[in-house]
Amino acid sequence: MRQSHARLIWVSLISAGFLAGLGAWIYQLTQGLIVSNMRNPVMWGLYITFFMFFVGLSAGGLIVASAGRLFGGHRLKPIVRLAVVEATVAVMLAALFLVPDLGRPDRLWHLFRYPHWTSPLMWDIAIVIIYLIISLLYVWVYTRADHAQLGSRLAFGTGTSEADSRRDERMKAVLAGVGLPAAVLLHSITAWIFGLQLSRGFWYTAIMAPLFISSALVSGTGLMILLSLVARRVKKITFSDELLGFLGKLLVTFIVVEAFLVFSDMLTAAYPGAEFEAGPMARLLSGRYAPFFWFEIGAGLLIPFVILVGGRRRFRPPWAAAAAALAVVGIWVHRFNLVLNGLSYATITEPPGVAIGTAPAPGTTSFALTQFYYPSWVEWIVALGLLCLGALLFTAAVVKLPLKEKASQHA
């Protein structure tokens, strides 16, 4: 069979990637975070960027599932199961990306033994766990009837009677009501990890939470378009190009909101001309991070907007896929910009700056006002490994779970 052949190659590839990442992480454990390119001047990097990014991606799923239900978007039904699986895998990956960022992952249990509730990081861990539970429940409720029909143990003893399916519908309604606020909270809290820090002028803004929600919607919807097209290609689900056009319309709406919030944020920071906020802003517009910023605006927002805004292009799979991919990558770059530009601007601008934190080569200084951060190969491979783990989880879910909606179930 051609398809099972292709699947074997795909699974081998991502397994190899996962093992490489695991190896790189073990290497990092033996050496410490010195093998990353993070140092005291820029203390967070690729791992935190991916953490934010996956928190955002998990939005797509639950928002498609919940909003569709709450506001009557029944058109989305064919992809709802795929969406909730995507949300579950994404939020798992977000949590996993925090682990390699820790200097002492062996003390991870301290988070549960000594939780300190004034820390936004602690709020985030709580909401990630709640969100994961909601997502798992979602997946179960949407696939339960099929498990029951197949006599699978995953049905947990529930049946296929009329009463069972009525209970499903009730649970779906409750989950939609809980899931949407949970998704909004998840993004807001993740935003507040950054937005509540008075020391970082670029982050300290009340727009951070709305901005995180909008970028989550852009990247989440973008990924849903891509995954739906792939799942349709491998015949796991079926849907019409009309639905594709509807998703494209959602995406273009979210892109416009994102662009508006980014502009509003930047204008507010730049206008007073005070160094504390305008310094990082000026560097984003024309400094060494400028190419990243202009990529975010041009390739991540402008081009997808042009593709999707009018005509019939958003109904055509290649165009929709291209726009969605650009939007997803654009939001990743947006996250990267946000982390780096918030951190790399010295809070005390007098020389010599802060201690870098590692023994300097003879004849070089151990201080720096700032640092041009780019991830080290260890960071890239660890990140690749976790991406492959996500792909493995997602592939397993797509293969094992009944994702196709049966027409008879929606009378």
Binding site: G32, L33, R104, H116, S119, S199, R200, G357
Partner: protein, 237 residues
């Protein structure tokens, strides 16, 4: 908190008397005063801090910033030249940004105002480093390296993957001695004492010399106070 190995009782009596804490109340609130008029930017306090506290290569708990844009270079001011230094270590804030964000309470304020770090509890997330507006915390990115093949100093080394910072020489305070950066300053630019004692030297200097706190507008309320230089002009052009 680093364990003490410091043999202060072995110091000669004259040395002990020189570093003794004076005018201490029953419930002290520790504070430091740094006189910017006196500081000569010699880095003695930074160097002794490293050896006292066993601070590895590439890490500093204490540093000397030059006021202006370039290191150890005069700046132009109102048509003349001026040159001042700004010694900078943990500000031991009343309202610290770092303790609030720690997810496991590995850094916290003590009753006496000290902001301390528990390196046995720290999980190494570096959120405190993000939150601190002063850039005075340092992370153990790798295994500590020293200029000699063994750790040296009066406190135990900290484990890899944890955060560390100035402790106001907590191991010396418990012996009734000032932090090492105080007694070692050749210009006597630093004064240490108890804010709760009305006659303490720190209170007198803060009152008389219009002391300011660094980044006062951020509301962190540091317990390190800077005395502005009274002579504004240093050199003729």
């Amino acid at each position: 908190m680093p364990d003490k190995v410091s043999p202060i009782e072995a110091l000669p009596a004259a040395s002990r008397a020189f570093g003794e804490l004076r005018a201490v109340s029953a419930e002290p609130r520790w504070a430091m005063v740094v006189d910017l008029e006196r500081c000569i930017g010699c880095w003695s306090c930074c160097v002794i801090c490293k050896s006292e506290n066993n601070v590895p290569l590439g890490m500093w708990w204490n540093r000397i910033n030059t006021v202006g844009a370039a290191l150890d270079t005069p700046r132009e001011e109102h048509g003349g030249l001026a040159m001042h230094w700004m010694p900078l270590a943990c500000q031991h804030c009343e309202n610290p940004a770092c303790t609030k964000v720690c997810p496991v309470k590995a850094t916290y304020s003590r009753e006496d105002g000290l902001v301390v770090q528990d390196d046995e509890r720290c999980i190494g997330c570096r959120y405190c480093l993000v939150a601190c507006p002063y850039g005075v915390r340092v992370f153990n990115w790798g295994r500590p390296e020293y200029p000699v093949p063994f750790p040296m100093g009066m406190v135990e080394p900290r484990p890899v993957g944890t955060m560390e910072k100035c402790t106001f020489c907590i191991h010396r305070l418990s012996e009734g001695q000032v932090p090492s950066c105080i007694w070692s300053c050749p210009a006597q630019a630093r004064v240490f004492g108890d804010l709760n004692h009305p006659d303490s030297e720190v209170n007198r200097l803060i009152r008389e010399r219009a002391a300011f706190q660094l980044l006062e507008e951020r509301g962190t309320d540091p317990q390190v106070f800077y005395l502005p230089p009274r002579r504004k002009r240093g050199w003729e052009r």
